[in-house]
Amino acid sequence: MLKNYISIMRGAGLAALMLYGASLVAQTTATGVINGSLVNKNGISIQFDTDPAGVTLGAAGTNAATANFGAVSAFGPLSGGVTRPSVTAANFTVRTIFDVQVIQGGLTSTTYTLTANLAAAAPTGMNYKVDAVTLTTAAQTIQVNGAYSTAIPHNLDLVVSTAAPGAGGPAVGTPITTTINFTATAN
């Protein structure tokens, strides 16, 4: 009986020592393995940049920018970055320049096609052009061979009727806002 007791106690002591040793080892060494994996997805992005010759864009460098021409008129002063290429009896055109930059990754495509459309019908007395292409609510092709990773300047023209408000001309003295949607498609 005593013999058994001593044997049990020895076993318990040994187990305790082993556990103590194990805990000491655990405090100084730890190992782990993480199996990481990724799937490289291809894609393209578009952003609008301020052109040195144009108005300063709001939220430049993003795909949701703003371009404010400020006050425009047929004969009065214009904001910096806005020019007036033409004035006729029927209308006048004010222009600014903005840049579009399209970046691609993981594609074999070397160029892209750029289209644009008005988000809603143009306000009365106003027409919008990008690179001389008149915009409508249907997509219009602006460029078919755009180079990636390059800020490409585009002319944005507002063709304003000279007619008075209520007679076919635009509202005056109040900001007129229009959204233009652009889509770049990898060729």
């Binding site: 795909n63 021409f69 007395g125 007129i176 806002t177 889509t183 498609t185």
Partner: protein, 176 residues
């Protein structure tokens, strides 16, 4: 073998599917402009008057009468009248005012000499103009039409021969 074939076909289909989907990116540019009404004044040569020597079709023109005298030869386009103490030379000059984005029906036109002239008398459209204040030439000017407002200078006989007479007339058109 069958398994390999199936896998090959599946992989091919995946590639075709991937190639068929065009990669696109979209963005929006919000454009804002505030249209203001405006008017513009330009000078044009009148067929009956002296041709503007420069600046026709702009708002900064030059009208040169050349040599004038009470009784001598006078250039074409100049109308002359003479009294006992002075003579007047006059030339038709067209003023055209255009309006845009405005419901204004007509305009008021005023003129003023750029510098005082104590010797000669100046009129535009028959209205005396000085440098003291603007003179109203018309209060109902018609837009987009050449309107003749003759420029006239009355010169006293006491003026020495060879005297250069020059002044600037400032015009202001205001939409009514």
């Amino acid at each position: 073998m069958k398994k390999v074939m199936l896998l090959t076909i599946f992989a091919a289909l995946m590639m075709i599917s991937s190639a068929a989907v065009a990669q696109t990116a979209t963005g929006t540019l919000t454009v804002t402009a505030t249209v203001n009404g405006s008017i513009q004044l330009v000078f044009n040569s009148d067929a009956a008057g002296v041709a503007l020597s420069s600046g026709a079709g702009t708002n900064t023109a030059t009208l040169a009468f050349g040599n004038v005298s009470a009784f001598g030869a006078i250039s074409a386009g100049i109308v002359r009248s003479t009294t006992a103490s002075n003579f007047t030379v006059s030339s038709a000059v067209d003023v055209q005012v255009a309006k845009t984005n405005s419901a204004s029906a007509n305009y008021t036109l005023k003129a003023q000499l750029g510098a005082a002239d104590a010797v000669n008398t100046w009129t535009v459209g028959g209205v005396a103009v000085t440098n003291a204040a603007q003179s109203t030439l018309t209060a109902t000017g018609a837009y987009a039409a050449n309107s003749n407002f003759p420029v006239a200078i009355t010169v006293p006989f006491t003026t020495a021969s060879g005297t250069l007479i020059s002044n600037t007339i400032n015009y202001t058109a205001t939409a009514n």
